[in-house]
Symmetry: C2
Amino acid sequence: MSTISETDVLIVGAGPAGLIAAWWMAKCGIRLRVIDKDPNELLHGRADGMRPRTVEILDSMGSRMMETITQESFPMLSSHNWMRDEDDNIQRVERLDMYEDHRKVLATPFHSQALSQGRIERIIQDAILDLTNGSVVVERGVAALGLEYDQSLEQDHSAYPIAVTIHKQKQNQNQTEKVKAKYLIGCDGARSWLRRELGYKTEGSNTNTIWVALDVYPITDYPDVRKPSSIQTPKGTMLMIPREKGLLRIYVPMGIEGQDAERDTVTLEQASAYVKPLFKPYKFDFERCNWWSAYSLGQRHSERNRHDGNRMFLAGDSVHNNSPLIGLGLNVSVHDAWNLGWKIAMAFSCPAGVDRNAILSTYEAERLPIAKTLVHYDRNWTSLFNKALVEPAVFIQRYIEFRNFSDGYRWNYPDSRLINRATSKQELASNLVVGESFTHARVSMHADGQTYWTCSRLRADGRFNIILLAGDWDDAQQKERVQTFCQKLEEEKDGTSLLYTRYPYPWKSSSSFYNYDKSNCDRGRPHSLINILTIHTGGDETPLLEFPTAVRGPYHYLYGWDYSRILVDMARPYDRYADGKAYEAWGVDRRKGAVVVLRPDMHIGWLGDLEDFDALEGYFETFLGAAWKE
Amino acid sequence: MSTISETDVLIVGAGPAGLIAAWWMAKCGIRLRVIDKDPNELLHGRADGMRPRTVEILDSMGSRMMETITQESFPMLSSHNWMRDEDDNIQRVERLDMYEDHRKVLATPFHSQALSQGRIERIIQDAILDLTNGSVVVERGVAALGLEYDQSLEQDHSAYPIAVTIHKQKQNQNQTEKVKAKYLIGCDGARSWLRRELGYKTEGSNTNTIWVALDVYPITDYPDVRKPSSIQTPKGTMLMIPREKGLLRIYVPMGIEGQDAERDTVTLEQASAYVKPLFKPYKFDFERCNWWSAYSLGQRHSERNRHDGNRMFLAGDSVHNNSPLIGLGLNVSVHDAWNLGWKIAMAFSCPAGVDRNAILSTYEAERLPIAKTLVHYDRNWTSLFNKALVEPAVFIQRYIEFRNFSDGYRWNYPDSRLINRATSKQELASNLVVGESFTHARVSMHADGQTYWTCSRLRADGRFNIILLAGDWDDAQQKERVQTFCQKLEEEKDGTSLLYTRYPYPWKSSSSFYNYDKSNCDRGRPHSLINILTIHTGGDETPLLEFPTAVRGPYHYLYGWDYSRILVDMARPYDRYADGKAYEAWGVDRRKGAVVVLRPDMHIGWLGDLEDFDALEGYFETFLGAAWKE
C-alpha cells in the first residue's frame, strides 16, 4: 500500500543534527516531518558531551532545556594526565585546569558538560513537543528509500520539487509512502542515504587500529575516577570522561589492527580483560557496563553539504565523520543544523524580495570549512592518541592550540550577504569579531537591577538582534549620539522604519509552555524581524522613560511599558559575576559604544558606529531586500 | 449520605502551611488527606513573596521547585523611598541596597523573592503530585464541620483518637463524611475552625484604619516602578512591590476609619481614584487590576498552637495573623509547617522507644514565641506605616533591626531534647549557632571539583545530618582526630553503630521524578536516620579512598563508591562563589574543625568537638531512645 503526502520540510535522521533542524521548524511554525530508520530511541552510549557554545545554543532555545542539562550533566573542569613507569605502574604527572581564573572577565557562563547523547536527544525532543503541543513526534522505524527531484520546480517557491519514498515497518506490514517536500535535510549519519543519492564523495581515511569505548560504573581505587583523565598505555593513550549518575566513559586503544569486519570480533569480555590491568597499581573493575562499542579511528568529510538548488542539505555525521576521542562530533553536528535551520525558515517564510539563494548558499560556505577543520584537527589529535609514549604536555599544548575551535567560540564565518566585513568597523570592538558568535557577559536590567547573562536576553526566535552598546548615557554628547541613532531606527523611509515595519516578523512563533519571563508580561508575538537590546554604561538612576522609545520598546495599552530591554554594565553588590566589566570584555569604549548586529544564530553579521546607520540599513537590505509589503 | 473513613494525617486548609505539612507526609509516605473549604485554587492576590530562608526550604524539597521559582519570581534587591514636599510632589530621598557586598562571605545563595501566593501554592502542590505519583490531590470545596476527640486513645499509637466530620458540596448533593485520623493539623486561617473547636483564645488588636492592596499592570512614568519602593502619603506610607510578569503590588493607606463591615463599602473605583494622584508629579494609571482587597491592619496570635495530647496542631494564620505590609505571614506559616511536619512524621513512623511527646511538644516551644515576635514586630512596623510623615531613615533602621528575624536566618529555638546547648560547645563555631538554622556556603566536591551550595547537598528527607567539619585533613594530627571520630561512628555498641544501624531510616522515602543527581547513581532509599556530610580544608589531591569509610559512604556492588559525600572548602578558579571561605563564614578553626548536627529542618541541634562523641551519641539518645530493633 502506498500513499502520497506533502510536508514542507522533511528531515531524515533524528540524531542531534536532525532534532536541532526540527526544532527550528517547530519554533517557526513550519510544517515538518522527522523520520529515523532506528525503531528505538537512543538510550545509552555514543557521544558523551557538549562544548560551551553548544550548551549556549541549547540554553537559547528555552523550554527549560538548560535547567535539565545543569541538573544532570557533569562539568568538565580539569584534566589529569597519567604516565606509565618501567614497572608498568601509572603515575599522575600533570593536572590542567580547563578554566582560567573566573575572577577575570568571562566569555561565557557555560562549561563543557558531559552527558550521554540519548539524554541530549530526549531533551531536544521534549523542547519540540513543548513548542508543538506534542504534535511533532519523531517517526521511528521509518527509512528513506528513494529520491525524486524535479529541477524544473527548483525556483518556484510554492512548488514541491522533492519526493522521497519512505518505508515503515508496522505490525508485520510494510508500508511505503511518497512524501513530497519543499526542503529535505539529510541528518542520516556517516552512511548517509541522502549523500549517496546526491552522489557526493567523501574524502578521508581510516586507521586500522581498533579502539573500544565503554560506559561503566567503575569499582576502583584509581584516584582520578571522577575527573577527566588520560593514561598512557602501550598501545596509545586511554581517555576517561566521568559522566552523569556516576558513569565513566572509557576510550581505550586495543592495539588490534583490523578492518571494519574484524571490529565485530572484539567482545566485551576481551575489552574488559584488556582494560582492567591498565590501571595498575590501582584496582579497576566494573559489574555493570551500560554500553560499549568497538571502532577504528578515522576521519572523513563529504565534498559538499548542499545541493545547488538550495532545496537539499546535509548536516552532521553525513558531512563529517570523526573519531569519538575528540568529543566534537555531536557538537559540530548541532552547530551545522543550528546554522541551517533558521536559514531554511527564512527562505520558506519570508516574502519574495528576500534573496533565498544568497541566504541558503551561506550554509555551505560557513559550515563546510568547519567540517574540514574538524577532520584536520581530529587527525592531528588522534595520531597523538594512537602513539605509545606521548608526553601529557604535548596533549595539553595541542588542546590549547585548538581550544577556541573546539569550544565553538571562534568559528569565523566568511564574508557573505550575512557577514558584512566590508561595511563594518572591527576596530570598535576588539573582542566582538565580525563572523564569530557573540561573547557573553553578565549585566543588569536598568529598570530593576536584576542580573542576567546577555545570552539569556537573546532567545532564539529567528530574529536579528541589534545590540546597541550605547556607551555612557550620562554623558550629554553621547546621549545625543544615541538619540540620533534611535531616531533613524524609527524614522520612516518610503513608508517603513527599519526597526518596526520594514521587515515584519514572518512567523507565528510557537511559544513554549515554559516561557515565563519574570521581568515582563506576555506581549505576544514579535512584530519585527529586527529586535533591539541596549546595554549602556551610565548609572541606573535615569528614569527609564527618558530613554528613546526605540530602545524602550513598545507601549501596551494593558501592560504599559516594557521594562526589560535596557541593560546596564555596572558592578552589583549582590552578584559577583555582574562586575561592570562587560565593555572591557568586548573591547568597546565605555563612553562611545558601538552597534552590533547578531544573526538569529548569534553570529555577528555587522559592527559599526552609531553614525553608521546607512551601513546598518544596507546590511539588512542586501539579503532581505527592500521593504516587505504585508 | 454519610460515610466513615480513616487516614493517618488530616490537614484542614490548603494554603502554604497546609501544603508544606502535606509535603512532609507525602515525602515520608504517610497516608494523608488535605481538605480546603474554598472550591477554587487561589490564582491571584494575597501574599506576594518569600524571604531567603523560605526560598531555601522550598529548594531543599527538590522536585525542581527552586528552578521554577528562580524562573518566575522577582528578586528584592533594593528599596527606594520617596517623600512628599509642600507642593504635594514626591521626591526620592533614599536608596537602600538590600544586600551587602556579596564579595564578602555570604550566608545564603537566596534572595527575597516576590511571587504571588497562588503560584507558590501551585508549585508546592506540583511537588506533592511529583512525590505521590499524582495520588495526593487537595480536596476542594470540603469544609470541616465537627470534631470528636477520644482522649482515652491519646497515648495509643495505633489508635485514631480524632474524628472530623467533613462536608462536601458536589453536583448539588451535600455529602458528609466522618474521617478518623491519628493526627489533625489546622492550617485553616485567621478564622480557624480547629482553633475554635479547641477553644484557644487569640490575643491582639485591630487598628481601624483601612488599607487597600492592589495587583496592577502599571502605566506610569514613576521612575521606580520596577523597584521595591515606598511613598509618603498624607495618611501613611504607601508600599510598592514589583512582581512577576510586570505586575506591581501596591499597599495604600486609605485613611478611612472603619470596622470589618465597612471594609466592604470600599470599591475598586474609590481605591483607584485615591491612589493615582499620590504619585504626583508622575502619571500613574492602570487598565488591568488582577486582584485587590481592602482590609484593616491588625495583629493577633493564638494562645496555643498545640493540643496537650500532641495529636492536634495549628499552623499558619490560625496561630498568627498580621498585616500584609510586613510580608511575613506566608513565610512564618511555611516555617510553622516546616517545623511541625517532620516531627509528626517521626512520631508516626519511629518505633516505640522514641519519645513522641518530647518531640511533638517542641513545636509549641519553638514556634509560638515566633508568632508572638511576629505580632510584636508587625505592630511596631505598621504603626510606622500608619503615620503620616515618617522619615525613610526610620523605616530603614527598623528594617535592619528586625532583618535577621524577617529573613528567617536567626530564629533561635529554645533548649529541648532536640536543641541541646548543655552538651554543645558553641565556642567552636561563632557563626553556627545552636538552635538556629545552618549558614550555607559554596564548597566543592572533593572527588570531582564540582561546586555546590551546602544547602543543595542537604535535601529534606527527614534525616538528621552530621556535618563533619573535618578541618585540615592534610595535617597528620588532625587526620588522626578525624579517623578516631569516624571509627566511633562505625563502632558497634550493644550490636549497633550510631551511623549505620542504631536508628534505621523509618520511611519508604517517596522519591521525586526529578531526583537526578549528576554526581551519583541512584542508591535507593537511605539506610539510616543519620546521614553524614564531610567538609574539610585540606587540598583535593588526597585519593578519596584514603578517607575513612564512615565519611565516604557505602560501597555498592554495582555502582562502586559514592563520590558525593566529601566536600572541600577551597577556592576554585571556575566559580567566584567557591572562594574557600566557608570555615571563615562559620567561624570555625580551619585546622581543627567541629561536628555539627542538623535536624531534618536544618536547625542546629548540637555542636561539639571531634572528641565529644559521647555527647553526640547522647544527643540522639535523649529523644530517639536506645537502639531500634527492626
